[in-house]
C-alpha cells in the first residue's frame, strides 16, 4: 500500500462508492468524514518510506506509485500538506449537513480532493495541469446541482480554469527546453510568458477573477467556498514547484516584480470593489481575491523573507473561509431571506450566525484580535521594510474591504426586533467552533501558525 494509493486512489474509489450511495446523506457524510480524518491521522502519525514497527507488526508505506509510465510520489515531506488537506476536507464535509449542501457535494468533493492531492504527487509535475482540469470538471456538478438553474459564474470558472491548462503545459515544455539549451535567452522569455498566463488563469489574477464573485453569488456558498479554498491552496503550493526546480526563476527579478504588481492590483481592486457591494455572497468572492493578492505579495517578498509567510497564510485563510462559508450558508437559509437588504436586524434575529459571519469577514480584513491579523501584519511590515508604497496600497484595499463589512454590520445591527436565537443547536455548535478558532488563532498565532512552515518541506531548495 503505497502513499499515492492511500491518499489518491483510495479516496477516489471511496468517492465513486459514495456517489452511488448519495441518497443516504448521513451515511455519505459520516463515511467521508471518517475517510478524511483517518487519512489525516495517518499522514500525521505514519512516516513514509520508513519502516514502522508496532509490536509484532511492521510495515512501510512506499512513496511511489507507477502509472502508465509516469509516477505519483508522496514523500515524507508531503505529510503536513496531506494532513492539512484532508483535515480541511473532513471538517468541510461534516459541515455540509448543517449547511444543506446538495447531495453531490460530498462524493464529488472527495474526488476533487483526491485529484488535487495527485497534483502535488505527479511526476513530472507538469502533468498537474491535466489533473487540475479534471478536478475542475469534477467540481462543476456540485456547483451547478441538478434541478436548479445555474449562472455565469460556473461557466466563467470552467472557461478560465480550462484556459490555464494549455499554458501550463506549454510552460512545462519551455522549461524543459531551457534545461536542454540554457544558453538560448529567447526560451526564458517564452517560459515566463506561458507560466505567467497559466498562473494568471489558475489563480484568478486580475482581470481573470470575475468568476469568483459570480460563483459565490450564484452557487451555494458552502460548495463555492470549498472550491475556492482548496483549489487555490493547492495551486499556490504547486507554484512553489517551479521555484524549487528552476534556479533561474528563483533569481528572476521580473518574476517577483510582477508578483508584487499583480498582488497589489488584486488587493486594491478586491478591497475597493467590496466597499460598494450589496450582496453578502459576493463579499466572500472579493475577500478571496484580496486574500489571493496578499499571498502573491508574500511570495513577492522573495525566497528568504516571504516563503514562510506565504505558508503561514494558509491556516488563517482556510479557517476563515470555512467559517465564512458555513455562516453564509446558514444565513441565506434564514426564513424570509432574499437578499442584502434582508440583513436588516439579523443580529437580533440570528445573533450567532451574524456575529460569526462578521468575525470571519473582519478576520480576512486583518482586524487585530482575529486570525487574519498576525500574518498579514508581518507581511505588511516586511513589505514596508522594502518600500512604503506597497503597504500604502494594501492599506487602501484593506480599508475598502473593511468599509464593505462595516456597511453590512450597520445593516445587521439596525432594527428593533426582540433578541432571539433562531439557529439550531448543531448550527450554533459549528459556528461557535469556527468563531473560537478565529479568535484563538488571532490571540495565539505563535502556537498555531508556525506549524504551516511544514508545507514547505517538499521544496528542498527553497528551505
Amino acid at each position: 500500500m503505497s502513499a499515492p494509493l492511500l491518499f489518491v486512489l483510495l479516496p477516489l474509489v471511496v468517492a465513486v462508492g459514495l456517489y452511488f450511495a448519495r441518497a443516504r446523506r448521513w451515511l455519505v457524510v459520516v463515511l467521508a468524514g471518517i475517510v478524511c480524518f483517518s487519512l489525516s491521522a495517518l499522514a500525521l502519525l505514519a512516516p513514509i518510506d520508513t519502516l514502522v514497527q508496532i509490536g509484532p507488526i511492521s510495515f512501510e508505506i512506499p512513496s511511489t506509485l507507477l502509472i502508465l509510465g509516469r509516477r505519483l510520489v508522496l514523500e515524507d515531506g508531503h505529510r503536513p500538506f496531506l494532513a492539512l488537506i484532508y483535515t480541511t476536507a473532513g471538517f468541510w464535509f461534516l459541515g455540509s449537513m448543517v449547511a444543506r449542501a446538495n447531495r453531490l457535494f460530498v462524493p464529488m468533493g472527495l474526488a476533487m480532493v483526491a485529484l488535487l492531492v495527485a497534483v502535488s504527487a505527479v511526476e513530472p509535475f507538469l502533468y498537474a495541469a491535466l489533473l487540475v482540469e479534471m478536478a475542475v470538471l469534477v467540481s462543476v456538478p456540485f456547483l451547478a446541482p441538478p434541478g436548479k438553474p445555474f449562472g455565469q459564474g460556473v461557466l466563467r470558472y470552467l472557461i478560465f480554469q480550462s484556459l490555464a491548462m494549455p499554458f501550463i503545459l506549454l510552460a512545462g515544455w519551455s522549461l524543459a527546453s531551457i534545461e536542454a539549451n540554457p544558453s538560448n535567452q529567447a526560451l526564458y522569455g517564452q517560459a515566463e510568458v506561458f507560466l505567467g498566463l497559466g498562473f494568471a488563469f489558475w489563480l484568478a489574477v486580475f482581470p481573470f477573477y470575475t468568476w469568483i464573485p459570480l460563483l459565490t453569488e450564484q452557487s451555494h456558498p458552502y460548495t463555492a467556498g470549498f472550491v475556492v479554498t482548496l483549489l487555490f491552496s493547492v495551486i499556490l503550493l504547486f507554484s512553489l514547484n517551479f521555484l524549487d526546480t528552476f534556479a533561474w526563476l528563483r533569481s528572476s527579478t521580473l518574476l517577483f516584480q510582477s508578483l508584487r504588481l499583480v498582488g497589489l492590483i488584486m488587493v486594491v481592486t478586491g478591497g475597493v470593489w467590496a466597499a460598494f457591494q450589496r450582496n453578502q455572497a459576493r463579499l466572500m468572492g472579493y475577500a478571496v481575491i484580496l486574500e489571493l493578492g496578499i499571498s502573491l505579495l508574500a511570495l513577492s517578498l522573495g525566497i528568504a523573507e516571504g516563503l514562510n509567510l506565504f505558508a503561514q497564510l494558509f491556516l488563517p485563510r482556510i479557517i476563515t473561509l470555512a467559517t465564512w462559508a458555513l455562516a453564509l450558508a446558514i444565513l441565506q437559509r434564514q426564513p424570509g431571506f432574499r437578499g442584502f437588504s434582508d440583513l436588516r436586524g439579523l443580529l437580533r434575529r440570528a445573533p450567532v450566525v451574524g456575529i460569526t459571519w462578521m468575525l470571519a469577514y473582519f478576520s480576512l480584513g486583518a482586524l487585530p484580535l482575529l486570525a487574519g491579523f498576525p500574518v498579514r501584519m508581518v507581511v505588511m511590515e516586511t513589505l514596508a521594510s522594502q518600500s512604503i508604497g506597497a503597504p500604502l496600497w494594501v492599506m487602501a484595499g484593506n480599508m475598502g474591504y473593511l468599509i464593505g463589512g462595516l456597511r453590512a454590520l450597520a445593516l445587521m445591527a439596525s432594527g428593533d426586533d426582540p433578541w432571539r436565537i433562531s439557529e439550531t443547536r448543531t448550527q450554533i455548535a459549528m459556528l461557535v467552533i469556527g468563531a473560537l478558532a478565529l479568535i484563538l488563532v488571532g490571540l495565539f498565532p505563535g502556537v498555531f501558525v508556525p506549524g504551516m512552515n511544514g508545507l514547505l518541506e517538499p521544496f528542498t531548495r527553497l528551505r
Partner: protein
C-alpha cells in the same frame, strides 16, 4: 509544394470553415457536424507530428464528444439571444475576420517559439482565436463547451509538435470527453430532479 503540404493547407482551410461554422451556426445539428469535421482537420495536423495510431485517438475522442453533446438534443441551448439575428452573424463574421488577420500576422513569428510548419501553426491559431471568440461572445453552456473544445483542439495541435507522451494524449482525451459530458450535464441539469 508537396502533397502533404497541400493537404495540410486544406486541413487548415477545413479548420477555418468549421470553426467559423461553430461561431455562426444557430442550428445544433450543423454545429455537431462542424465539430466532427473539425476533428478531422485536427487529426490530420496532429498526424504530421504523431504516429497515426496516437493521432486517431484525437479523432475518435472528438467524435465521441460530439456524440455525447448531440445525445442531449440541445436545440434550445444553441440559440444565442444576443447574436441570433443577421446583424449578430455579420458582427461575428467581422470579428472573426479580424481574428484571421491576427492569425496570419502571428503565425510566422510563432515559428520561433514552436518549431512547426505553417499549416500547423495557422490551423492551431485559427482554432484558438475562433474558440476564444466563441467563449467571449456567449453565455450559453453548449456554446461554451464548443468554444472550449475548439480552443483545446487548437492547443493540442500545437502541443503535439513538442510533446509525444501517451499519458498526455490519454489525459487530454479524458478531458475532452469530460468537457463533453459536462456540457450534456449542464444542458440537462436545470430540468433534472433536485438532489437536496
Amino acid at each position: 509544394m508537396t502533397l502533404t503540404e497541400v493537404v495540410s493547407y486544406a486541413a487548415f482551410a477545413l479548420l477555418l470553415v468549421t470553426s467559423l461554422a461553430l461561431l455562426l451556426s444557430q442550428n445544433w445539428r450543423w454545429s455537431i457536424i462542424a465539430l466532427a469535421v473539425q476533428y478531422v482537420g485536427v487529426f490530420w495536423l496532429v498526424m504530421l507530428s504523431w504516429p497515426i495510431g496516437l493521432s486517431v485517438v484525437k479523432l475518435v475522442t472528438g467524435w465521441m464528444a460530439g456524440a455525447l453533446i448531440g445525445s442531449s438534443q440541445p436545440a434550445e441551448e444553441l440559440k444565442d439571444a444576443t447574436f441570433s439575428n443577421i446583424q449578430g452573424m455579420v458582427f461575428r463574421l467581422g470579428v472573426s475576420l479580424v481574428g484571421l488577420i491576427l492569425v496570419f500576422t502571428t503565425a510566422p513569428k510563432l515559428v520561433d517559439w514552436i518549431p512547426a510548419g505553417q499549416p500547423v501553426l495557422l490551423g492551431a491559431l485559427v482554432l484558438l482565436v475562433n474558440g476564444l471568440l466563441q467563449l467571449g461572445m456567449t453565455t450559453r453552456p453548449l456554446r461554451v463547451i464548443l468554444g472550449l473544445l475548439t480552443v483545446l483542439s487548437g492547443f493540442e495541435i500545437l502541443y503535439a509538435v513538442v510533446e509525444q507522451s501517451v499519458l498526455v494524449a490519454g489525459l487530454s482525451s479524458i478531458i475532452t470527453l469530460g468537457l463533453a459530458l459536462l456540457g450534456a450535464y449542464l444542458m440537462a441539469a436545470p430540468e433534472m430532479e433536485a438532489e437536496e
